[in-house]
């Protein structure tokens, strides 16, 4: 697990708590639809926590269900924001 994945996992663990599947998460671990606690409020809290952790800003047009389909897709989104 690289640094981005570890940070994303810790943000998910903070917001979703025990609702999150047992760590370590796999790229294929499904999120949206698989974790009932992942509602729009949780999505907002995760995005805000990621912004605070990494120092980037996420625009409204970047928010989509696709980003939250799986752990791998969310990590890919963050890596893209970091330009790595």
């Amino acid at each position: 697990m690289n640094e981005v994945e570890a940070a994303v996992q810790s943000v998910l663990a903070e917001v979703l708590g025990e609702a999150l599947p047992a760590a370590p998460l796999q790229a294929s671990t499904p999120l949206l639809g698989a974790v009932p606690e992942l509602d729009s409020m949780a999505v907002v809290n995760i995005l805000t926590a990621l912004e605070e952790r990494f120092g980037f800003t996420i625009g409204d047009d970047e928010i989509s269900g696709a980003v939250f389909r799986s752990f791998g897709e969310l990590c890919g989104f963050v890596a893209g924001k970091l330009g790595s």
Binding site: V15, E37, M41, V44, I63, S64
Partner: protein, 253 residues
Amino acid sequence: MRPLVLSPADAPLFAVVHEPATGVARRGGILLVPPIGEELNRCRLAIAAAARRWATGGWTTLVVDLYGTGDSAGDFGEATVERWYEDLRGAWRWLREHAGGESVLWALRGGALLALSLREELQPRRLVLWAPVVTGREAVDAVLRLATAADALAQRQGKPPARERIRDEGLVEIGGYRWSETLLSGLEALRHDALPVKGVLWLDAAGRAERRLGPGALSPQTVEGAAFWRTAEPVAAEAWAAATESWLQAEAP
């Protein structure tokens, strides 16, 4: 802990007060200025746990549901910033009459917007801020982002942005709350750039705090552990309560 109803009678304000047990020396009173919207529900457990802890140290904490929130009268869609100021003034008067000793303002998250606006007027000797939101812009953006996220998850496309809808319709439901143009623009107008330094404790989550150094000399004291206001399951914020208690037990400035 006991429930209270503060007047005015036309719109009763529900509150609970956590008081020291008989025989405990009374240090003073603490008025919570609550988070705004859904965050208040996430914070309820942390608020009650902190108030209970401080009661054993001699502090009376008043937790009031502002107009249109919790068990108080009114509809959230009709709440305004001015109305909330009025509620807080009344709660502050009650606290000063009943708690004795020093009176402290304790603001969580968006409550800091209101507390900092009232600070000059209420003149608390000390102010405690937990993960404060200090610009109305940030508070409003969080509400609008919730609307965006809800639309994205439901795959509703082509809807006008939430801010536009609220401006046009006056009232839009977001995350179970009816947000009005009046309340949003009232919050949006608030901005507290230069935080006062004397008599202020600013606690913030480690990892978040370093990105939030605002203008002015005040910097946050960081607290380990989860950012309790955004956990899906409510959690107590023991480290926050403990850090606040040690600061309060020290001599007032």
